[in-house]
């Protein structure tokens, strides 16, 4: 990955993370709102792989934790794992499949919402499962609706990576 692409990914993550905490989080329809940051992260991970996804997820989560004065590292942990998983999915099973962005976004949304609930509970913070479950359908719908526009935009900005694990040999069938 070139330095220019790295800088572009950094800028995208920073701007979207700031907009997520200051603007998108205030949107609430039918009990939930869009997590544009997560959708963007999944797009970056699918296009650039697991390592980039994990690093971008960690940076994005750290910005969110700092900006919301929350428990430092909590969102960073969730988004690191979400970015890493989405990247691996893009490198393996989801490679060149049209439904890969949608499937990855839905799975990542489920993971972040339920994982967030689990982590908060582990830390002894009172969290109501019903609140999380009630917000889940709206969050999934919002994120699903945003998946392809965001994916297209991110691909235009950073491009798709060349696959590292190329086949060294090809078999010609005539």
């Amino acid at each position: 990955m070139s330095v220019g692409t790295g800088v572009r990914i950094g800028l995208i993550v920073f701007v979207v993370a700031i907009m997520q905490v200051s603007a998108f989080s205030s949107v609430s329809i039918a009990g939930g709102g869009p997590n544009v940051l997560l959708v963007t992260l999944v797009a970056i991970a699918l296009l650039r792989g697991a390592v980039t996804g994990a690093i971008a997820g960690f940076a994005a989560g750290l910005i969110v934790d700092i900006a919301t004065l929350g428990t430092l590292g909590l969102t960073a942990l969730l988004l690191t794992l979400a970015g890493f998983w989405a990247g691996r999915y893009g490198e393996t099973t989801g490679r060149a499949r049209a439904h890969a962005p949608l499937a990855a976004t839905l799975a990542a949304t489920l993971f972040v919402e339920l994982g967030g609930y689990g982590l908060h509970s582990l830390l002894g913070e009172p969290v109501a499962a019903r609140t999380v479950l009630a917000a889940l359908p709206a969050a999934l719908t919002w994120n699903a609706a945003l998946t392809y526009p965001v994916f297209g935009l991110v691909r235009r900005l950073i491009g798709a990576t060349e696959r590292l694990e190329r086949a060294r040999e090809v078999e010609i069938l005539v």
Binding site: F14, I18, M19, Q20, V21, S22, A23, S25, S26, S28, G31, G32, N35, L37, A50, V51, G57, F58, G61, D65, I66, A67, T68, L69, G70, T71, L72, G73, L74, T75, A76, L77, T80, L81, F84, E113, G116, Y117, L123, E125, P126, V127, R130, T131, V132, A134, A135, L136, A139, L164, E165, R166, A167, R168, E169, V170, E171, I172, L173, V174
Partner: protein, 302 residues
């Protein structure tokens, strides 16, 4: 020809699968461990220590960006709010007209009661606790960040200890009680909303004087319940619930008396329950908080 294997010409040396897999695992391992270390430090010492001071500095650095994001989003929120209010304008106007008639009558009665109350207090040399809004000044602040998940019910406001904000300071909007300050940095503070699981406020029914505790409801995130109200006390639909602001010899409520919280929407009681089941619709709109007032005592006491 079928089944012929042709070697592709080498164009540079691609990384082997083993190296790439190892790199992946090392990177994600380091990041996960780093996140866990941050969680541990932040959880054990949320308000002091090196991690807290680093977070404070970093939040000060991010503050201009979150304020800029907030300003960019504000016109869009205004447009949405305008469109949303148009849908309910007719029913709102009807409700407000009816409320206005009732309040006009009530205001006259209240004026008489207030005059009488002042005279009696003067006669008794009665010493009262701090009252809202007379004994407090409100620090107006914009909401600059909100949580990204549904599991947190708090917002970040653009005032901090430099502006006189103290921990546990009550926070209100123009409509009513919102929550309290649970974390303070120099230029920002975190406000935990009343809809959060860990927040409750002692309250009373203005009409009947029935006292209880207002906390998050079970029906939805933005509904509250007026709990611990004995069944013998009277609470009616439409009654206004305000903060109780009690004071005993050594202890005092964090919140001043008289901040409006909400209106009673349903009252029920079962033979097996000790308390009434009272639902309250909050005056403040917890889903659309753009600006708040952080209350600071005029006499400088916390």
């Amino acid at each position: 020809m079928l089944g012929v294997t042709v070697r592709r010409p080498a164009t540079g040396k691609p990384p082997s699968r083993t190296t790439s897999a190892l790199l992946r695992r090392v990177v994600v391992g380091i990041l996960v461990v780093l996140a866990l270390v941050l969680i541990t430090f932040s959880f054990r010492k949320p308000d002091d220590g090196p991690v807290a001071s680093a977070e404070s500095t970093a939040s000060s650095v991010l503050r201009p960006f979150t304020i800029a994001g907030e300003r960019v989003a504000q016109p869009f929120r205004d447009v949405y709010g305008w469109g949303d209010s148009l849908l309910t304008a007719r029913s709102d106007a009807k409700q407000l007209r009816a409320e206005n008639v009732a309040l006009r009558q009530q205001a006259i009665q209240n004026q008489f009661a207030a005059n009488e109350n002042d005279k009696l207090k003067a006669l008794l040399a009665f010493r009262d606790g701090p009252r809202f809004p007379d004994d407090y000044t409100g620090l107006a602040a914009a909401v600059i960040a909100r949580p990204t998940g549904s599991f947190a019910q708090d917002v970040v406001v653009a005032v901090g200890s430099n502006d006189g904000v103290a921990l546990d300071a009550p926070v209100v909007t123009q409509d009513g009680f919102l929550g309290r300050v649970t974390r303070v940095y120099t230029r920002s503070a975190r406000v935990t909303l009343l809809t959060d699981e860990q927040l409750a406020v002692s309250a009373l029914d203005v009409k009947s004087g029935a006292a209880g505790i207002v906390k998050h409801g079970r029906a939805s995130a933005s509904t509250l319940i007026f709990d611990r109200v004995p069944k013998k006390l009277r609470v009616a639909v439409g009654d206004t619930i305000v903060t109780a602001g009690w004071r005993s010899s050594k202890l005092a409520s964090l919140y001043p008396r008289g901040i409006p919280i909400g209106r009673v929407t349903s009252v029920g009681q079962a033979d097996t329950d000790l308390w009434k089941q009272v639902q309250v619709e909050p005056f403040a709109d917890f889903d659309r908080v753009d600006a708040v007032l952080v209350l600071v005592r005029k006499d400088g006491q916390p």
